[in-house]
Subunit: 403 residues, 2 copies
Amino acid sequence: MLIVQKYGGTSVGSIERIKNVAKRVASYFDKGHKLVVVVSAMAGQTDRLIALAHEVTDDPDPREMDALLATGEQASAALLAMALKAMGYPATSLVAFQARILTDDAHGRARIDEIDSSRLQKELDEGKIVIVAGFQGINSQGNITTLGRGGSDTTAVALAAALKADVCEIFTDVEGVFTADPRVCPQAKKIDRISYDEMMELASLGAKVLQIRSVEFAKKYKVPVHVRSSFNEKEGTMVVEADAEMEKIVVRAVAHDKNQARITIRGVVDRPGIAAQIFDPIGQAGIIVDMIIQNTSEDGITDITFTVPKGDFKKAFNIAKEAANKIGAERVLGDEHIGKVSIIGVGMCSHSGVAAKMFKVLAQAGINILMISTSEIKISCVVDEKEVERAVRVLHEAFIEEG
Amino acid sequence: MLIVQKYGGTSVGSIERIKNVAKRVASYFDKGHKLVVVVSAMAGQTDRLIALAHEVTDDPDPREMDALLATGEQASAALLAMALKAMGYPATSLVAFQARILTDDAHGRARIDEIDSSRLQKELDEGKIVIVAGFQGINSQGNITTLGRGGSDTTAVALAAALKADVCEIFTDVEGVFTADPRVCPQAKKIDRISYDEMMELASLGAKVLQIRSVEFAKKYKVPVHVRSSFNEKEGTMVVEADAEMEKIVVRAVAHDKNQARITIRGVVDRPGIAAQIFDPIGQAGIIVDMIIQNTSEDGITDITFTVPKGDFKKAFNIAKEAANKIGAERVLGDEHIGKVSIIGVGMCSHSGVAAKMFKVLAQAGINILMISTSEIKISCVVDEKEVERAVRVLHEAFIEEG
């Protein structure tokens, strides 16, 4: 089999751990597999480099920041190749310009456009274990780019797609994807198989196990992804295409995200273009708006409520106040103490009454719903921050333990 | 003017110092110069990376070692470019694959074969200050190579040659090249102008101010090199082609090297091929032999004496004993407590009696000469290690202060 493996920063967090990764990689090689191994920077190294840059200036140039950060993965890739060679295995490390990982120009959050796999293929054909520095690429001018936090997941999946690998294994510090966060919900259990769409919803809803772009990539190129622990041999979670069997399960997982804040603009005159006047400046400030709710207007006056990440609350609130002034709205209200709880499942679209059951379960627990948003395979409710964890537990009980 | 500058590890040893370098570079830019700036890794970083590699294995793979070490210069180049951009200057950092510094395959001590300066020229034409990561190159297969300790000097001179720069300024932690090591000889003074050949002898005789290859490069391409302090504005030493004026000075500098050991093979039958049988295995062990002396034979029996770096003494001694056995030599003697003192000057070839004067000065000081070797512009004497520093002072007094 041709296997692409990815080891995160914790898995290569010390020389001792790098040696353990080398042993694991070697054991796969001994079984006759062809291997491409993607590594993150050693845990903490990226933060150290960022701190160094911030000693230079408050606002480091993004191109230079990428050149700086890319050294972290280059170092861990070289160290892992060194460890394997010292064990007598034919390994070679490659950075982005060598592995020909070509991206767009968006420094700090670049997207992979293309991988020219000829060099990779040549090394594999020569019997080498190829170690690739994750998280990085080069753009069309040959500048070094980085893919954003969690970008090594995307490197791994993109390489697996380019090389038509049999599987992409993401080794991490958890045993797989869980039905809920086990720290919040002790009844949570590991999911054996999850669909790309469910995984994408989970990633976008705050589960940090995979970078969302890596799942998009996996779905687009149908790369089977295996999320598993780097500290034991247990099978983890397979992320694959949805099938009939999967759709029998209505709710696959309960997700939550406490990193939310809410802003309401009261007394907005309901005429065309109003929403754009509010959300244009917020988008331009680089703030990602999650839910937006606009009630039907009464007498041509309406309220608009939206949620943003907690860290962007102050900035968004000020922009909203300015916009409210311009459009002659009544006033702006904010609430930093909210959270979001969601249920996800591909089976949802073929089962009715799921939303009604969710609202009933929350109501029976005395939890007030502040906002609701739905997609084909997900229902999210905004609730008071204090109620988020209890909401996760009652929903998990109702939909997963009993459902 | 087009100026290539190089800042060593001490000069970029902290963020504070990187900011100071940025200010100096900016002041040159403000005067209208075009600038290419080569940087070493932050002081200590290369040693830290080497230590990390040695935690992985006693004998790290050279290709991976180079990939690991190259991160040091990549980081300092990015940080310096960041600092300049934060000050509002148009800077951009380039690593070897971007600056197209092409080397041979000798990992850890690669030689620059060629520089394709088109990208560099393009950035300069766009008005950029180009920061280049020193010490590194890529070979014809696109692998990362490094040029050996002091390699950033060679990067700078090679770039200056490729771009036909007006001058290559080497900023370092000393004020220039001195007539002797000031720590040993308080009377030593800064040399204003020195010839390439003299500088090459000095570098090969243990003066650490410039990597010898950088001087070879400078001589070959006639690059004027200015060695000066990064901590003040004083003029340093210009390394240039010898001219008539220079040849008037008989002795330019006194050099010394305590890092020497001596091995003598006694009772060697003097027949063709004997020397090869001794020095072949020593060369194959990667040991660099400095002086070799073979006396005229008496009755077909001779002694062979040679010097090696102290660190290689034990290894060389064992190889010599093995070789002595094979060729039926009498015995092998070793002495780790020797040193070498040398006088250098292009004027030497047109002045007679220099050697005689050197031997007389040493004799008058009661210093015994153990070995002698000469070139057109240098005379070296091996003396007892305890006498090295005193020999430097008496030679400096006789040839430079009085001469």
